[in-house]
Amino acid sequence: MLNRKSRRKDLLRTVIPFFGLVFIFVFFTLVTQGKMLSGSNMTNLISQCFSVTIVAAGASFVYAHGGMDFSIGPSCGVAQLVAALIITQSSMPTWIAIAACILVAVTCATLVGTTSAYLNVPVFVVSLCMRAICSGILTVGIAESDIAIDYARFSGFNSEALKAAILLVIVGVSYYLFEYTSLGKYEKAIGGNVVTAFQAGIVVKKTQIAAYTLMGLCVGIAGFFQLTRTAGVTGSSGSGLEFDIMVAIVLGGFPMMGGSAARLRSVIIGALTITILSNGLVLWGLDYLLVNGVKGLLFLIIVAISYDRTNQNQMNFTSA
């Protein structure tokens, strides 16, 4: 009977966010009289969900072990800045700019993970400090005005077909790593109980750092595509990405403390949900004054219904 109860719970946890996504999609399709389903809007959705979904796929490894990172946005901005400077100030080929973008994002994320893991500082605090540092670097790097890149030169990167393909590849690879390799299992094990994971022979610190590195890789890729989409870097490039990721994680029913209940599909569902929600509210014609308030309200309602409450321990921000 206990098994049946926990299986039902598991099923509900999986099904509710998915039904939430379908419901929102159907709802906005109806109220916008089909505009949601139009070809041009679907291609817009691909562009709009691209960054959040890719970064969420990477961040799922971090959240699976109970970590988090508030510096995703500013570090994405700094990565874009470096790429933009290489593009505009040098004649180096594009792949170097891409590599630099990824390298900067990986470095920032790895620094957060390493500092937290090896220096006993709560990851929450480390990521906030890194956030302040990256915001400052971004503004210093921008100097006098935003930096523009040649849109036509990188128009290929704005192809929805390319983005869809890259999205599928990254989500596919992340899914495989998360669900079928020891990396994913170890992250979940650490999220479940770090002491047990250690005693089971998992090299906890290195595994945690690997998660941040993977997330940094995704942030770097997303950052470069954001740069080509907006054809420039501004002081607010990447801003808000960390909150979008957190919302995506929660909306998909992914446990914030990690553990064995963590599923990559939850994160993907959450990322798609938040994108469709933002898209749908504007498409529907909701007054601009209301959009964010309604988003917040819907977020709370969905969380109330679908959040997994089995792991009740709060994150402890005051000790490692």
Partner: protein
Amino acid sequence: MKKLMRSICLVLATVMLLTCLVGCGKGAATSSTPSPSGFATPTPKPASDDSGAAGGDEASGSKIKIPDNLPRYRIGVMYYTFTDKLGSQMKNALDYLAGTFNVEFVYIEATYSSEAGMAALETTLQTGLDGIIAVTSGVPFVEACKKAGDVPCVSIQIEPIDEQVAKDMAAYANYLGAVCENDFQVGVNAIDALYASGVRNLGIVGLTPGLARSHDERIRGVKAALDKYSDMKLVAEDYTMAEYSKSISSFAAAYPEMDGMFCSQGVEALYQTMNTEGLIGDVKLATVDISESTGDYFDNGTLVSIAGGQYGTTMIGFAILYNYLHDGTRIIPDTSVTLRRPFVEVKSSEEYEQYLNYVDSTIPVYTADEIAAMIRGFNPEVTFETFTKAADGYSLADIVSRHSDSF
């Protein structure tokens, strides 16, 4: 039982919320509601009827016939936020024009995030816009409008970052041009005014670089003007958005020799902090964006120069777009060249009173008839030269001379 009740409550809450949203969504479909505290709605009749409408009389000395049965256009307007002073003035000015020109304006808040702004723009274009006026510039903006069905677009209050980008944008058929204030010049004028008033040690506070190009241009103008004066030096600068108050207090404490300040955004916090820090009488101020305390700070000798009235640019942007929508007229022949307009500059409390009466009151800086006079379909005499002359002549004196009969 408890869980069941909880689930029922949540479902009920969801249903209630959705019901409210249905109401909101329907209500928001017509976005251009007359602003309760905005400009007087002009009587949407031909100017020749001489009905004494709040819009005033004919412009350019000739009667402009605005037909009654104009086709309805749906125009998107994108700005950082419509809740600040400038944003609300822009919205009020456009709502004022909506009746006369039979336009439904759809307002999009871009915030300062380029990614979020891009997403909002793309999505709003999907709702079916006939045109868009936006505080964004760059090829992605024009490309997004092109993809949405060659939607004609105008950039306002921002210009392409460089000549190459301007040329790239001009290559798009749906791009009608950019119109913005001369932010660089306003920065130069501010420093000239401060120098003339005896300032030799300057502090600058402004928006974070890269957030809004207009602010960046103002700072560039300031620094270019500083180079002219060898005996005027920059003692401190700070570009942290929404922390002007803290910056000014810190400057005042760290640099007691500071005798002048330029702020790229004239918020009340400036005046408040100068008062709190006891800087009145010791530090002169020049800024952009006119607010409630402007008159008082001219009276006490703090303010030497202030500029505002930028919402007029939005109305010009509308005129550029409407020219095209009405009969395909491209009033700006070479869209790689930005149409730069002056600010309304105010230099005394008397001028501030005039500003209040003529710029920030019931009649906007351009009446509906004056805008109609810029539309070639209504006024065949309009050319690019006359259009730019009208735009270039923008000043407090110009507005007063045009509207003195209205008050």
